[in-house]
Amino acid sequence: MVQDVASPDAAPASGEAPALRRFGYAAVAVLLVGILLGTAIGLVVPRFRTPADDSVEAGFFRDMSSHHAQAVEMAMVAHAASGTPGIVTLAADIATTQQAQIGYMQAWLRDWDLSPTSDQRPMAWMPDSAGSVVNGLMPGMATPEQLASLRRATGKQLDVQFLTLMRAHHLGGIHMAQEAEKLSDDKDVDWLADSMVTAQQGEIQLIDDLLKQAQSG
């Protein structure tokens, strides 16, 4: 570099040789930086290929796991206490399906080396979602009071409460899954989110039919 700086004054006539040398230094420097960057990138690319800790995918999986867990909770209550065969079957379907989906989501988070839970507020991954979380409850989730009431209920009252709570729960879940599908480019995440949307939309029709029967019967 010293040679380099001095050369224009020392030999202004032969300006081409220092220029070449300078180019050589620059080329070596670029190469070195390239190697360093390449090595660093090589080290972290496996991390970058999977969703990050604050990604939509991780946030959706964590929140949807909790959201699903409550559906399993309510379904198990109805499964144990309802006397209506159609509702017992629906409850079993919801509980087993959603518990299995929790397994998918938790396993993928584990594969990505991410924690199953987050200390961020619920729905932080979804834009403009602040207002949709009430008392720490995500869209469609039942309150502790509603759950306590469901556990106490029997007969027709239980059926109606379960169907009403699960309908709202599904609507909230569909909303979340649709947003995740929109925001995420991960095809596995999209596949799971889409299967949730389709299944729960179908179940809402069934719930509406069962609700009509329960209210009239």
Partner: protein, 269 residues
């Protein structure tokens, strides 16, 4: 740069080249920006005899510009990559390491105490090594831990089973002021794998536990509570995948004597 842009696409005033582009009025455009443009043009072509001096200066300037830009790019890239590595390494650190970093957390798993490590399901009342318990033999039915906030003490025999399933159990001294209980309640409400209850005879205001780990503090706003929950919730499970739903939701101690768990089971489900 401006030279590379074809004349017709520029706004008339910035067309400085003497060429007949048929676009507006080239002569009037010679007011301000034209001087620098023609200088640059002259420097590049170097037609006149006094020009050779300027190429040296210009090339010196040209060298430092790109170097500064490159250096800035490299620094920013290194910063981004460095942060990425840091964040991912931090994010994927083992939860037990995270707990070990929190001062005051007692690691009972390290003690290898058979009384605490015992995971058998036994009916009736059990005795525990620590208060509140962090492990040991327990009843078959677990305490519901779907963000349940119990306002009365619950049976250790059910709560320990919840810890086995990965739940964080927050206990507080019975009679703690309502506003302080509310602070704790906010950490639990709406969160699966969390439960909370008052605890008789607690030596501190708050004790938080998962299977094999415990943190006690007198301050409900202690940041370590959140760190503990964040690190250990679900992760501490001894049975990955086991649920917190369908558990016992009643409060009060195990009915001693009768204690064959069946009564509790029916109360739970």
């Amino acid at each position: 740069m401006s030279m590379s842009t074809p004349g017709p696409e520029r706004v008339p005033s910035s067309v400085k080249v003497g060429k007949t582009t048929g676009q507006g009025k080239p002569p009037t455009g010679k007011t301000t920006g034209n001087t620098t443009a023609s200088d640059r043009q002259g420097a590049k072509s170097g037609k006149k005899g006094r020009k050779p001096v300027s190429p040296v200066k210009v090339s010196g300037g040209r060298n430092w510009g790109p170097i500064a830009v490159a250096a800035a790019v490299v620094l920013i890239a290194a910063g981004i990559i460095g942060y990425g590595v840091y964040a991912s390494v931090q994010g994927s650190r083992d939860w037990t390491d995270k707990l070990a970093d929190i001062s005051g957390v007692v690691n009972y798993r390290a003690q290898k105490n058979p009384k605490i490590d015992d995971r058998t399901h036994k009916d009736g009342a059990q005795t525990y090594v620590t208060s509140p318990p962090v492990g040991g033999a327990h009843n078959q039915s677990w305490q519901n831990c779907m963000g349940d906030v119990y306002t009365e003490p619950i049976a250790n025999e059910h709560a320990v089973h919840s810890l086995e399933h990965g739940a964080v159990w927050i206990t507080y001294k019975q009679g703690l002021a309502a506003d302080q209980v509310d602070v704790l309640k906010k950490k639990v409400e709406g969160k699966d794998y969390m439960l909370m209850s008052p605890y008789a005879g607690l030596d501190k205001n708050v004790s938080v536990q998962v299977w094999g780990y415990q943190l006690k503090t007198d301050d409900v706003n202690d940041d370590r509570i959140d760190d503990f929950i964040s690190a250990a919730r679900i992760k501490a499970s001894m049975e990955p995948g086991a649920a917190c739903s369908s558990g016992n939701t009643t409060t009060g101690p195990i009915t001693a004597g009768a204690g064959n768990g069946t009564g509790m089971d029916s109360a739970g489900s």
